[in-house]
Symmetry: C2
Amino acid sequence: MFKIIKKSKIDRTRLGEIQTNHGTVKTPIFMPPGTQATVKAIGPDDLNKIGIEILLVNTLHLHLQPGENLINDLRGIHQFMGWSGPILSDSGGFQVWSFSKNRAKNGQNLAKISENGVEFFSPLDGSKHLITPEKSIEIQHKLGSDIIMAFDECSPNSNNKEYAKESMERTHRWAERSLKKHQELSKHYINNGKKPPLIFGIIQGGIFEDLRKESAKFITNLDFNGIALGGETIGYNMPKTLEILDYLQDLLPENKPRYTMGLGSSPYDIIEVVKRGVDMFDCVGPTRTARHGSLYNFESEFEKGCLRISNSRFKKDNGPIDENCDCYTCQNFSRAYLHHLYSVKESLYLRLATIHNLRFMMKLIKVLRNNI
Amino acid sequence: MFKIIKKSKIDRTRLGEIQTNHGTVKTPIFMPPGTQATVKAIGPDDLNKIGIEILLVNTLHLHLQPGENLINDLRGIHQFMGWSGPILSDSGGFQVWSFSKNRAKNGQNLAKISENGVEFFSPLDGSKHLITPEKSIEIQHKLGSDIIMAFDECSPNSNNKEYAKESMERTHRWAERSLKKHQELSKHYINNGKKPPLIFGIIQGGIFEDLRKESAKFITNLDFNGIALGGETIGYNMPKTLEILDYLQDLLPENKPRYTMGLGSSPYDIIEVVKRGVDMFDCVGPTRTARHGSLYNFESEFEKGCLRISNSRFKKDNGPIDENCDCYTCQNFSRAYLHHLYSVKESLYLRLATIHNLRFMMKLIKVLRNNI
């Protein structure tokens, strides 16, 4: 299901293709978040025009509302949200971690974690929920995702090695249980001449080299279709992320796609991990910062490659966000208009801003692919 | 600039065409509100796909933010908001009335009205503003609207005849001042071989037949390009509105377009006024109710031609809002998905809902045109 098309001669960058039930995903690829079965503020028509190739949806959000059974009854997540391209679902591990806002000082997660799974309270209505590895895989199968993730615990970016080890070992046992459940649920696809979804395993181990290596060996040894790097550290602590990618390089199989989860809050981060052989990444960064007024433009005058549209310098600026951008927003609207929409809190701003930042990401991806 | 193409043999319906600086407007026509230089929640791409032919923008909103001078410097309202079709601007009279939320019991408006104009406080920052007829016309010229409105006082739907008369007489004097200012500002268009915007006068007179008739005679006697019916009564008090249209029928010139301002909160209202020879109408109703969860569908099972998308009966309903609708929303998304988006407050809901209700209005307009 994964084919390497081309490899760089100067670094570890690689061009690949993943075959899914909803078409081929070219790698490297950025996957925008479609958390609640919609990429915030834009429609599938916009996604197609931007050139988005694969989306991510959140298992836990959809489990809580509207529920995987409803989506399954309505012919699956693609039909439900009007997106016919590939979809990856996360396992819910990260969401449980992010739902439990209050974390202990040693970095330990306050959602109640046991060997069986994670017990947590819904942020919607306070109701108690239990997600086990088996449950997570079942939800993802019911959603009808093309790529599903093993259930894991998102390990904190913390110095607590004892907890990192305990958590990693549990994640390993959950990986085996996830895979077993997946194989069980996949039988009826195979019996019906269909292909089951792909499943990716997740390497944990926090910030610790020995643990990360141990986790890499364990996870790559199982029959997963792809390998992800998880944990709060990935993307959030970029120096550590790059270090991890460097020391794990010989442990990651060549013939499986590699996915750094939650990475991409800055376009620079993506450039760095692609050079280190990463094929897939997702982040709420580009869409969230767009909504909050930061629009990508890499001209040197703008700090960190972002134009803050609320700045009064744009009030009378009739130019587009980025003169070289071919997105709908840059082709049709000025900075002055976006400044106005943002100031008066009109929802069209959210759409136009999101379109630009996502198009920026896709153009970056194209450049990275062409540079090999 | 106005041509009647066809007249009904069974009622007063008429098909017409208004020539503007940004193309021809076919009548009868519904004009969606683009209050703050955007039709809430949708873009010009959506407007084009829906088949919207002319928009309305609010003079007072744009005067307060971002200001008519800024828009003028940036080559006008069309360029600013990325809409190349015709635009009508209101005079600000209605907005002053709606900004001053607290009205005296006798229906008198609490914005400070004098012979010179209206003094009011900005709802944005409390700053004091004075809008005179001359100022309103100047703002509208600076915006670059295709159709501008004389400055008027929006008379209340009240029994206070004394006030209605006083207000109407002032509106008449303001109409003359508006026209004079318009003619003065129009000179440089004519000198440059260009056509100035069209200007419409507004008939007031509240709920009183003698006043409405007096106002109709006065306004139609001035050199306006079109005739509007204004006041809180129009659209808000539909029985009275229809009565007014009936007794004014012989006083309204055949060869000028007729515009009922703020009318169209229900599609039924539009059917009624078109039958009575009205050519143009605008209302926030279709877009506002869409955003608040009411989606047009005239199947008999739905109350008042609306489907309340929040209703749990739609939770698992895989059908479109309206099976016979050709809009982007109905062609691609289910009631269940819209119910979900509405429940989780995703902004894509606002866009999809607005697209449907506006497309419904435009289809209704087409039917009314074809029925002649």
